[in-house]
Amino acid sequence: MYATNYHRPSSIAEAVALQSSSDEAKYVSGGMTLIPTMKQRLAAPSDLVDLRHIAELKGISVNGSRVRIGAGTTHAEVSASPELAAACPAICHLATHIGDPHVRHMGTIGGSIANNDPAADYPSAMLALGATIVTNAREIPADDFFTGLFETALEDGEIVVAVTFDAPAKAGYSKFPNPASRYAMTGVFVAKAEGGGVRVAVTGAGANGVFRHAGLEAALSADWSADAAASVTVDAGDLLSDIHGSAEYRANLVKVMAKRAAAAA
């Protein structure tokens, strides 16, 4: 690891000021990606601005059907939240299967979506739930937030404050972990809104990161069932291919995970 300067702000304003004071500063939340990357000397921020001690980023609340999860909420907190278990158990299930206990107690939802690792779990939930990403500057619909591999709509210095979404009528998440990293080789989040709209988002498989699958959405809108998901043809054309799984294999997994997610919802 290269030498870096560590800062611990206690407010969003202080964090933004610290970040803007250097060209090479980076926010760090759980650090579950950034710190290993720095240890491998693949990232060299001059300054690290730690977001874990900012009260404004904390907390889970459910008001009526509106769910709000503070960006600084750890995966373990999401996993164990009784409010979330009542409003959207699928997101608790998702959080329970991120990484290992160490990762779940350090990593945060805000860090995960801001990093937008193409194999991370949360981006699929945000997209399928039609979530809104609340930042210190604006509100960004999930459809506009995830723009590519490790790319988001966040401007330089912008901080994710929370995510909000309406509790779905039903939702499910199923992933097939990469045998080595245990990240999602393919993860599919399916959600049916109270109004009836169905959204299906896929992580781990897309060559350009998390994406919605129109064919699966249409099939599950017509008939919410495992069989309906299984009837969909998934095109391997835009999918990732690597030593762990070909695009064809991932296309199969998209269908199988969609089936299982629908059945679990």
Partner: protein
């Protein structure tokens, strides 16, 4: 058996310090003035070095020295060598290319050392290493051994035209061909044995300390055989003469073979310590380990197995291409030859065998012994072929094996080995009973009702351990003898130190070796200390690998104990005015048989050292040494049965049952033996289902350079193992021990692949059987 003697499940003495984080590993060593080394490594798989500019790095903060291969050559440091001579079938010696500890002029794999920086801190050393400017002329690379033999491929070493190191054979080619021509059935199969990264928990490390006042070197290093390291560094690498070089291998956190070999880094640390005038420590990080530790396996073979009308094997013909990587590592040449082809008879009476092995250079990390070393490759090939033949012949896999088992001993195979003892049927029966083999169809049907495909597979392995009579291995090309030494020192108060040339890096020698002494003298194991791993303490030894510490290392201890016992009895007889032949040793006392006369063990020891009242002419003291050279290999054998369920939708394999029935001969500590079996099976499951080193075939970049991409077995990948032992004592050594360290890794891969191919109904499947591969194979079979 006493509570702490042979056969007792004694808890490991060494575990207290390991579990409390108080082990002392090489990286824990710190000496005054110590500095840190970081290596500049080639980012290219094959390139010519046009120039190296160290000036910017040399000016960086904290930097003491920046050294290159040129300076090392100028100082007369020698090439790394392979210590086992193999001759090709045309009589020519193997073609060994030069391996410089720091590359000079050419780099041949990603990770090849190009320069070393010594600095005040690890961080400063790494910063400066990045500032060393190397101008490379990138050359085409080849990583696949089959491709490397083809015309027009990149050439690695001028000494080895066509990248061919040797083209070696064993067995009778004509007799084998004739038997195949006359066969009622011939099974043909292509077998790929996947390349593995060894991944001991502790990465390699070295600390070189040069003492200018004494002109003496000390090397702390992660070695399985510190004496061999000293010998090789002295005799071949010109680092220092043996009497001026002390090598210490303190606690070592796993080796699996990868720490047998002498690597560039320990030589560089010693040399750099003298050059820079400071002690120099280097510790590998995990990616460096993936890049530079010697890998294992990487064979591609074609096989023909011939049967007569009664399903008896009449011949076996094997053609193997073995990937050696960019350089010949210390024992690389022995692995796909005398540790591999000599085991191709397996547990079966096969009249004719012929094996041809071509060893090939490629632009990859060196390949050498890894847990099992040649024997897993032989077993996988043979047991996959047997299973395939059983399917083709319509015979049950157990029946085909039974028909062909060797049942009379000693048995001379056509490939050198003379099996001394065994009962293969006993292990097969024990395994089938433990696995409830006959209940499998019902379990398969029940799994099918859940949409799962269930399969069962077996593997009957044999291996050769305790390698071996020194004269025999010498005649086969070994550069060293393979005996072991021991010294037993009884202190004046009766406590005992056992100095051994074996080296413990996870095997539990501090416990099992002490049990041996407890059994003999009836003293508590707490009063016995095992000393190993330091060339200044133990005079000479050959180290630990090839499951040899029990069969060879303990046999040397037994020989020394015999001498101690003889002298102790003489002293006791003298003290009690009895006849020496009437003295027995029981419960820590020397007694006159049939009387109530006895002398406590400590009193006899004290008498030996006070020397006030010893038999006339006897030297004072009680200390005896012995060297033990084995009379033969030992032949552990057994039967493993795997039962799996495959999810046809995802291709994911779940191991629902794993049975191991092993014959290791006599056992000193069953708990430690079971631990060895568990660990070995875990590594075998790793090879079969999870692990595989991948290089980009065009660029030679290592794609599996971290745990993000290299799949190590984890607890949730493994079932609980059902382990049992059948015992036919080894007649070749005093304890009747065969060895247990590698069997798990040898026997398990074919059992697993046989089970998965049984489940999916497609025999065409390579290791690691990842979900993707199993899904595709099941799909191809219409399942």
């Amino acid at each position: 058996m006493g509570v702490e003697g042979i056969g007792a499940r004694v808890a490991r003495k060494e575990d207290k310090r390991f579990l409390m984080g108080q082990g002392r590993y090489t990286d824990d060593m710190s000496v005054p003035g110590m500095r840190y080394a970081a290596f500049v490594r080639s980012p290219h798989a094959h390139a010519r070095i046009r120039s190296i500019d160290t000036s910017a790095a040399g000016d960086m903060p904290g930097v003491i020295a920046v050294l290159t291969g040129k300076e090392m050559l100028d100082d007369g440091i020698g090439n790394l060598i392979c210590g086992w001579m193999i001759h090709s079938k045309d009589g020519s010696p193997m073609k060994m290319g030069a391996w410089r500890p720091i590359a000079h002029e050419t780099v041949r794999y990603v990770g090849d050392a190009v320069a070393v920086v010594v600095a005040d801190s690890m961080g400063e050393a790494r910063d400066a290493a990045e500032a060393v400017l190397v101008d490379y002329e990138v050359l085409p690379a080849v990583t696949d051994a089959v491709r490397a033999l083809e015309a027009g491929q990149p050439q690695l070493h001028p000494e080895a035209p066509g990248n061919l190191i040797f083209d070696w054979q064993l067995g009778d080619s004509d007799a084998t061909d004739a038997a195949i021509a006359a066969a009622a059935h011939v099974t043909e199969i292509r077998i790929v044995n996947n390349r593995l990264a060894p991944n001991p928990m502790e990465p390699r490390a070295a600390l070189g300390i040069y003492d200018s006042a004494e002109d003496h070197y000390t090397c702390y290093t992660t070695s399985q055989n510190p004496h061999v390291a000293r010998l090789v560094m002295s005799a071949f690498y010109n680092v220092a003469p043996e009497n001026k070089l002390r090598v210490i291998a303190p606690d070592v956190g796993g080796g699996f073979g990868s720490k047998i070999f002498i690597y560039p880094e320990e030589i560089v640390c010693l040399w750099a310590s003298r050059r820079a005038g400071v002690p120099v420590k280097w510790t590998s990080d995990r990616t460096e380990a993936f890049l530079t530790d010697a890998h294992g396996r990487d064979h591609v073979s074609t096989v023909k197995m011939a049967f007569d009308a009664d399903n008896r094997i009449t011949a076996l013909k094997v053609d193997t291409i073995a990937n050696f990587g960019a350089y010949m590592s210390l024992f690389s040449s022995s692995v796909p030859t005398y540790l591999y082809a000599t085991l191709l008879s397996g547990q079966y009476a096969i009249p004719a065998i012929h094996a041809n092995v071509r060893a090939v250079y490629t632009n990859t990390a060196a390949v050498d012994a890894y847990r099992g070393a040649g024997r897993p490759e032989a077993t996988y090939l043979l047991e996959r072929t047997m299973e395939t033949a059983a399917r083709e012949l319509g015979v049950s896999p157990a029946e085909l094996r039974r028909i062909n088992f060797i049942r009379a001993f000693p048995h001379q195979t056509p490939v050198i080995m003379n099996y001394d003892a065994g009962d293969y049927e006993a292990s097969l029966e024990a395994a089938m009973a433990a696995a409830d083999w006959n209940g499998f169809p019902a379990r398969k049907a029940e799994a099918a009702s859940r949409g799962m495909k269930r399969g069962i597979g077996m593997s009957c392995y044999i291996e050769a351990c305790g390698i071996a009579p020194s004269a025999a291995v010498g005649s086969l090309g070994a550069g060293v003898g393979l005996w072991e030494s021991a010294e037993v020192r009884v202190n004046a108060v009766g406590t005992i130190e056992v100095l051994t040339g074996s080296h413990s890096h996870g095997q539990g020698h501090e416990t099992t070796f002490a049990q041996l002494v407890a059994e003999r003298f009836g003293v508590p194991i707490d009063s016995v200390s095992i000393v190993h791993g330091d060339t200044d303490k133990v005079q000479m030894g050959m180290g630990t690998y090839g499951s040899r510490s029990g069969a060879v290392g303990m046999s040397a201890i037994v020989k020394a104990l015999d001498k101690v016992e003889a002298k102790a009895k003489k002293i006791a007889a003298h003290l009690m005015e009895a006849d020496e032949s009437d003295i027995v040793i029981e419960n820590g006392a020397l007694k006159v048989a049939g009387t109530d006369k006895s002398v406590p063990w400590f009193q006899m020891a004290l008498a030996a050292y006070t020397a006030h009242n010893l038999p006339s002419g006897m030297e004072p003291g009680l200390k005896e040494g012995a060297f033990y050279d084995p009379s033969n290999f030992t032949f552990p054998a057994g039967c493993y049965i795997a039962e799996v369920e495959v999810d046809p939708e995802t291709g994911k394999t779940t191991i629902v049952q794993f049975v191991a029935a092993d014959d290791f001969g006599n056992i000193i500590n069953p708990m430690i033996v079971e631990g060895q079996v568990h660990g070995g099976i875990a590594q075998g499951i790793g090879q079969a289902l999870l692990e595989g080193v991948h290089y980009d075939p065009e660029t030679g970049q290592l794609l599996t350079a971290s745990y993000m991409d290299y799949t190590m077995p984890r607890a949730d990948d493994l079932p609980s193992f059902k382990v049992s032992h059948q015992v036919t004592p080894c007649p070749g050594n005093p304890l009747g021990i065969k060895g247990c360290g590698e069997a798990g890794a040898i026997g398990s891969p074919p059992a697993l692949i046989n089970a998965i191919t049984d489940a999916i109904g497609n025999n065409d499947l390579t290791m690691p059987a990842t979900p993707q591969k199993v899904w595709a194979a099941a799909l191809a079979a219409g399942n």
